[in-house]
Amino acid sequence: MDSKQKRALIARRIAQELSDGDVVNLGIGLPTMVSNFIPPGVNITLQSENGFVGLGPTPAPGEEDPCLVNAGGQPVTILPGGAFFDSAESFAIIRGGHVDVTVLGALEVDAEGNLANWMVPGKMVPGMGGAMDLVVGAKRVIVATLHVTKDGEPKLLKKCRLPLTAAAEVDLVVTDMGVFEIKDGQMIIVEKNPEFTIEEIQVATEAELVVSPQLRDMDVSGL
């Protein structure tokens, strides 16, 4: 699988986690791709933390409105039935549990559900933006990440080493190697990419994996 296929696999699998009527916040990058794979018959509402619900697709060239951007500052559209609000209300929605699912990337995630995705000391300190509120506030937190770093190092750890975004909030991790539930301090593999054995996945994972009795293969067709 090339990088593009891996990312599509992750985004498509996460889209299966969404239910009709869900309010969903998708982080920048890979998480945003989830919206391309929403199953037919599932209507979700996308929340954009800079101040609206009803986030729509990228506008056609020339149709951009500088007053309508997503949380990455990129031009977007709003769907009929959407609504604008200020930043306090936007984060009241997020912190108050009115977002059903948030999907975010990770630098590191661990078996306790800790997530680190906002800074690397001495290197990159972009700031947490809305990530800390999203991870604490959303009803369900799904991490979308490639299984290992560019250097081949595990990202699914026993214990995060980087400064945390939030402690013990992650519910599910989806990578190109599998789907991992975080429960009671355990990282449980519930689906695996059929291209790999459990042993191969464990080698690429620092956290000790628990294999679900219901372990299934991920659908990797047609990527």
């Binding site: 951007v69 604008f84 200020d86 984060f91 700031g127 947490m128 800390m132 975004t165 402690a167």
Partner: protein, 217 residues
């Protein structure tokens, strides 16, 4: 009733060392005319409270480029590498605040509250030095109000009483900052007569607004 002033004149009120809130998210909803005027005024030693520092040399980035900022309170600086560099060089002292906490802290100041308890940041570096308070078995951080000498905000339309409406996602922090500063300066695209914005439509009541200004051309 707010006074209507030129941008140059109104920015003249901001003295070196002032604390200044600036609305906007990236450059969307940022009062770029006022920011440009402030950067051009040679202002120094400002404390800037804002969501982010825009792009390099653009939006609030203009104030970073002119070394106007001593202390920055923001949720995100990653889109402007100059801010990160000046932070590393010790030229700007940066306090990073989760975006929702930033919004609530500004709201607290405007609403006369002494603080809020938020679950955001518990168990992270954000909790360092902050009081933890337990309510009904859950841990929260006590986050304190953020007030400023000035707020520079951007709205779409104002009436002559200063009642404001915003356009789309350009609303963001502007209505909150309008309540949290001693002197509130609103950059607007259009100033209409009283009565043209209906009382049910108003987002920010004019009672908060000290000055109205349009971007100089």
């Amino acid at each position: 009733m707010p006074k209507i002033m030129s941008q140059k004149e109104v920015i003249g009120l901001v003295k070196d060392g002032s604390s200044v809130m600036i609305g906007g998210f990236m450059t969307c909803g940022t009062p770029c005319g006022l920011v440009e005027e402030l950067a051009g005024s040679g202002a120094k030693d400002l404390t800037i409270i804002c969501n982010d520092t825009g792009l390099m040399g653009d939006g609030i980035g203009m104030l970073i480029s002119t070394d106007a900022v001593q202390h920055l309170i923001a949720s995100h600086i990653g889109t402007n590498p100059e801010t990160g560099q000046k932070m590393i060089d010790g030229k700007i002292q940066v306090e990073l605040v989760p975006q929702g906490t930033l919004a609530e802290r500004i709201r607290c100041a405007g609403a006369g509250l002494g603080g809020v308890l938020t679950p955001t940041g518990v168990g992270t570096v954000v909790a360092e030095g902050k009081e933890e308070i337990h309510v009904d078995g859950r841990t929260y951080l006590l986050e304190k109000p953020l007030h400023a000498d000035f707020a520079l905000i951007k709205a779409w339309k104002a009436d002559r009483k200063g009642n404001l409406i915003y356009r789309k996602s350009a609303r963001n922090f502007n209505p909150l900052m309008a309540m949290a500063a001693d002197c509130v300066i609103a950059e607007v695209e259009e100033i209409v007569e009283v009565g043209e914005i209906g009382p049910d439509e108003v987002v920010t009541p004019g009672i908060f607004i000290s000055y109205l200004t349009r971007r100089s051309n």
